[in-house]
């Protein structure tokens, strides 16, 4: 019969129309911003810098090795390395970034910087509501804005943060044992795995 296919299709649409009143899983949309979806642990938006302890300037894990700057696909990271060294979270003398800027209008959230970082210093944030009325200056985040505590990292990526902490503790203990028990206090930072470059 001509028109049978159309009627069959209309029956399907009617089923969907009325079905959306009875079964909740047919409704996939959420009325943001009144309602929000459950945060997804793996989600990634823009990078941030992790620091240990309470003071971000003292505890920044970043040692300004500039690997992430070099590897960043869209080149959105700008780092200035310090001339002097200062003690890091465990007391070892290290360089530190005097400037660390990320232009989030260029960043493409690819996570390559996180993967190449040998110090677990840069991780992905989940904040996405970053609208600003200053489209040039407002989208360049400096190191003060980027620095976030290890507790914050634990809050957004608990599994990954626990892994990182376990690894760092093991490495710190190893290097402390190497330096000898009495010097454990200033034996410090874990040595990174040797970068694979020639």
């Amino acid at each position: 019969m001509f028109g049978e296919g159309i009627l069959k299709g209309l029956a399907e649409t009617a089923k969907n129309f009325f079905g959306s009143y009875v079964s909740a899983d047919r409704l996939t949309t959420v009325e943001y911003p009144e309602k929000r979806l459950e945060p997804i642990e793996a989600a990634r938006v823009f990078p941030f810098l992790v620091y240990d302890g309470g003071d971000w300037q003292a505890g920044l894990r970043c040692v300004a090795c500039q690997i992430c700057e070099k590897e960043c696909p869209p080149k959105c990271i700008y780092i200035e390395k310090s001339k002097d060294k200062k003690p890091d979270a465990v007391g070892k003398m290290q360089f530190y970034p005097t400037r660390f800027d990320i232009d989030v209008s260029v960043c493409m959230s690819c996570q390559i910087c996180v993967e190449v970082c040998p110090f677990d210093a840069i991780k992905m944030d989940k904040l996405f509501e970053l609208a600003t009325d200053d489209r040039f200056g407002g989208l360049i985040l400096d190191r003060g804005m980027l620095a976030k505590s290890n507790q914050y990292f634990h809050g957004i990526h608990p599994t990954e943060a626990a892994e990182v902490d376990a690894r760092l503790t093991a490495e710190r203990a190893k290097s402390a044992a190497k330096a000898g028990a009495p010097a454990a206090k200033d034996a410090g930072r874990p040595q990174p795995p040797p970068p694979g470059e020639k």
Partner: protein, 392 residues
């Protein structure tokens, strides 16, 4: 390429055996219409210069390049791994298959082994990508016929579930950046695999729904059957691949021919069309979705444990030996290939993408000649392109 755009319109029109579109005795001019670059049917910034005789198309020139982003030259100036997130942006509906093709090319270049578990994950993610691509393509195609959104929204409802799986594994819905040279980036949990099984169990109901909704719809049949016919010999000569080629009845599926990855372990059929018209292309996509579900069911039965990345693979300081490699896969849109030449440095010396969308688009004029201008939109929609991949 320019030769094919200079259309020998008259002989082709004679072959099509159409009634004359203008009344004899009435004189008139040809009308030149620029369709796009901002046109709802063109899926992005794409322009067609159409010459019309009344309602009939007598010449059509595709104009692309509006979305050119210099992908290949950028890739020649950054490290190998840094190109991986850029491949997400080629065909931004199917980022995972793009990753796969690029990873395959680099693995061939340096001879990395992919662990068993990673191969299974690639199959699962690749077929999920194919499913959601075909679902949304069918939705877009029907929308271009004027069914304002109903099938598209049904397709998007299903696609949303798949994108949620991608997000919970890779961290991003569309720009997954998941494959790595010699494996994958994140090891999925057992819960994630259970979620996939749950979603896959719901997919056959969706294909049945689309089938009931559309396949025997008289309006759809009237609009698509006998429109935009692509003869198999022309399709082969023009280098068409993917569902478009198979809709013309040519049995060519790289999953069967090359059996890259571990596709030779799975049982699946390659659906073929008969006439090569728009309706066949619609049907092929629907049938391929069913075959994808079959592959997914087989792959999900026993995902092996073990590592997910080759221990020899490294991210930093990656310098392949001088040489060249071509890796190709059956992407949802056709043959996606990456050709790499290494001179031993940290950047590829040459990086070339063989995009299925661009090659499939070159045949647009031959399918549209003699068709009505309203059919051009449908024929164009049935090609299934993404401008990110056409212009690169």
């Amino acid at each position: 390429m320019t030769a094919s755009f200079k259309s020998p319109a008259e002989p082709k029109l004679n072959n099509l055996d159409l009634a004359p579109s203008s009344e004899p005795g009435i004189s008139g001019d040809l009308l030149e219409v620029a369709m796009g670059p901002h046109h709802p049917s063109t899926h992005g910034v794409f322009r067609m210069d159409i010459v019309l005789d009344g309602e009939r198309v007598i010449r059509l020139k595709p104009v692309f390049g509006y979305l050119h982003r210099n992908h290949e030259k950028i890739a020649e100036n950054i490290t190998y791994i840094a190109s991986m997130p850029y491949t997400d942006r080629l065909d931004y509906i199917c980022s995972l298959t793009n990753n796969w093709a690029y990873a395959l090319a680099v693995e061939k270049l340096v001879g990395l082994e992919v662990p068993e578990r990673a191969e299974y994950l690639r199959i699962i993610l690749g077929e999920l990508t194919r499913f959601q691509n075909h679902a949304s393509t069918i939705g877009f195609l029907i929308q271009e016929m004027g069914a304002s959104g109903t099938p598209l929204m049904y397709a998007f409802r299903e696609r949303e579930k798949i994108l949620d799986l991608f997000e919970s594994l890779t961290g991003s819905r569309m720009m997954c950046n998941y494959m790595r040279f010699g494996g994958c980036r994140v090891d999925p949990s057992a819960e994630w695999l259970d979620q996939v099984r749950k979603v896959v169990a719901g997919l056959p109901a969706f294909t049945d729904e689309i089938d009931r909704l559309l396949t025997s719809n008289e309006i759809l049949m009237a609009r698509t059957q006998g429109i935009g016919i692509l003869p198999p010999d022309l399709a082969v000569n023009a280098g068409i691949t993917g569902p478009m080629l198979r809709a013309s009845g040519v049995n060519y599926d790289i999953r069967k021919i090359d059996s890259y990855g571990i596709y030779n372990r799975f049982t699946f059929r390659v659906p073929l069309g008969e006439r090569g018209d728009v309706y066949d292309r619609y049907m092929i996509r629907l049938l391929e979705m069913r075959e994808s579900i079959r592959i997914l069911e087989q792959a999900l039965k026993n995902v092996p444990g073990g590592p997910i990345v080759d221990p020899k693979s490294k991210i930093r300081g990656f310098r392949p030996k001088p040489g060249e490699a071509y890796g190709r896969i059956e992407a949802p849109k056709g043959e996606l290939g990456f050709y790499l030449i290494s001179d031993g440095g940290p950047n590829p010396y040459r990086y070339r993408v063989r995009p299925p969308s661009l090659v499939n688009l070159t045949i647009l004029e031959d399918m549209c000649l003699g068709a009505a201008v309203a059919d051009v939109v449908i024929i164009f929609g049935s090609v299934d392109i993404v401008l990110g991949e056409v212009d690169r």
